[in-house]
Symmetry: C2
Subunit: 371 residues, 2 copies
């Protein structure tokens, strides 16, 4: 069986797994960190930069592409891969999380929100989200889910779980029905449930019952503590089938990722590496480095002496600090390339640790450095 | 003889010339367009982008580097080439033009202006400008000159010519004296004189008498008409020695450059190609194209079908229009790369026309398309 995202487990270390996921586009390796290309480009980078970084998957935001330039325009320009000039895997989120952040009006049928671009009222239903991702032409589409702001009452979380489950049914059916999508496009369901392990388990069971090609865990990393996040996540992963990818949405910090991998999660997305870069926070083997600090003004060394990225090969901390301090977009790009390369290299280390059965050691090391 | 910037004339067509200029760094070919790397980077580009574009020379702004990060910081980080990671020719302006735009207080000894960065009063003398460019480590430095806003009275222009001449003497002497500069750094004088051919000739004669390694023509392309510009330029070029590079400052439009080349000018700088790019104005074989126009939203073609740049090879007008319309820095970079590649390719055409004795035909073609 297995559908549109076949999982081959290459190695295990406890619950953690090293896999190869095969889709209609090809194969990608997990554990996988997915850089975020919000509006058809990872901010300040182009597709040639991405090719050099070689991430397993890149995420694009349905919400943003839907508003600008419009999913129909992306389709007219050949779909997201031709549009962005990128031949690798592209996963689109459904827009649920972005819409949630705009305090939308949610009803049983869908959600209405105000466009950040022109103030227009925009309607989004589970079917609309599937249509948009079909037009955009993602390799992996996500169902529209209902997020909640934590902390939240059990009642609010339950309503979100129920609506997410009902919308998942509609999304699954609509996705099977429509023809304006890539053949073999995978569709992932999304588990909600706040930080309540019981609701998380229920949401996971109801989602798995619909037989999606993979499973996202949404609504976490929104301000709750790491123990709460990991408890909720553990309740979910127990329910998820082992032959489908497991995707923890919105987590990209070293400890968060490695702890989730230890529970059996396969993939992650987060804007943090690029957003931090633009603000001068650099990820290094020694931990975070604040490039705005005056002591780096005359530092001729690379951002991270152990890093092999194109930025560390050529430019100094002093130069990059200068570019950021005067707001040069070149600085955003070069430091973003480093932070992404560093994060991707970390996932390579995680993968190797799983293969060598040494994930616990890496977890301890990262907790000490980054916890 | 010839000093620090030897000119070998490879071909002539009327007064126009194709040359090879040899400096301590190596050789560059003229007619040459020099992209502007204002603050140690051509805006949104990095040194690897520049290597691919392969411009003969890149300009860096002394004014900006002096204020941020400071010429001493650039020196501490190995000089402009190591700082920016760029091994090609770098020419620094003296800061005169930028300072002029800030309505500074000018006296016989130097100029006092207000920093755009922190409002501090900054003093710049002809010696300071030489010191700064020595520390920055440019291959070609420029003397500090006095610009005037046109139209201006003869008296104002004369004062600027006199001060520029007196400062040139001091700059020449100081440059010979100091040791904190690259061995073999070339120093170019600057001719002023507004649009008055008589004052232009006088300024040229007084500058040439000081035996600089090359000559800049400053204070033009500041709002006067093209006939006035070319008349003033013609009066200058007659006086300039044929064995030194001739540099028309601040001109980068196709007709302006080819007409100046026809008078015997060798090199140019201008921010226009990159500034236009960021605002959606694209240089093409058909003329200017306004990418903001809605008719390009679904245009899957390249910016210019005749262009061989990396942007035209991969991305569509529709994609690039989208990136610019949502303010993605990736769009600034990709369209800037195209506009620079286009301008550099135009200079290749100018060079070939000189070699083939067909410059007049190219002048007519450009006047028709861009006049």
């Amino acid at each position: 069986m297995s559908g549109a995202a076949r999982v081959d487990v290459v190695a295990r270390d406890g619950a953690a797994r090293r896999t190869t996921v095969t889709t209609a586009r090809g194969a990608y390796r997990t554990p996988a960190f997915m850089p975020v290309g919000t509006r058809g480009a990872v901010k300040a980078l182009d597709a040639a930069d991405l090719e050099r970084l070689d991430p397993p998957v890149v995420l694009a935001n349905t919400y943003h592409l839907l508003l600008r330039p419009g999913a129909d325009v992306v389709a007219a320009l050949g779909g997201i891969h031709r549009f962005a000039g990128f031949g690798g895997h592209v996963l689109t989120d459904s827009g649920g999380y972005q819409v949630h952040s705009l305090s939308p009006s949610v009803d049983d049928d869908g959600v209405t929100f105000t466009s950040v671009y022109d103030g227009a009222a925009v309607r989004l239903t589970p079917e609309d989200a599937i249509d948009a991702q079909g037009l955009i032409g993602a390799d992996v589409a996500m169902v529209l889910d209902v997020c909640v702001t934590l902390p939240a009452s059990t009642e609010v979380v339950r309503t979100a779980v129920d609506r997410t489950a009902a919308w998942a049914v509609r999304a699954r059916e609509h996705h099977r029905r429509i023809e304006h999508r890539p053949a073999g496009q995978a569709l992932f369901g999304i588990v909600q449930g706040g930080v309540d392990p019981v609701l998380r388990r229920e949401s996971a069971e109801r989602t798995v019952a619909l037989d999606f090609d993979g499973y996202g865990v949404g609504g976490l990393s929104v301000g709750e503590g790491r123990p709460e996040l990991l408890d909720a996540l553990a309740a979910v992963v127990e329910v998820l089938p082992s032959d489908r990818p497991r995707y923890l949405m919105g987590v990209g910090d070293p400890v968060g990722m490695v702890e989730a991998v230890a529970l059996g999660v396969d993939q992650f997305d987060c804007v943090a590496p690029t957003r931090l870069a633009r603000h001068g926070t650099v990820l290094t083997a020694e931990g975070r480095l604040n490039l705005r600090n005056a002591r780096f003004a005359r530092d001729a060394g690379p951002l991270d002496p152990t890093c092999t990225c194109s930025t560390c090969a050529r430019w100094s901390r002093g130069y990059l600090r200068h570019l950021l301090s005067v707001g040069e977009p070149t600085g955003w790009r070069l430091v973003s390339i480093h932070n992404l390369a560093w994060t991707l290299a970390l996932m390579d280390r995680v993968a190797e640790a799983i293969e060598h059965g040494s994930l616990d050691g890496l977890r301890r090391e990262l907790a000490e450095r980054w916890g």
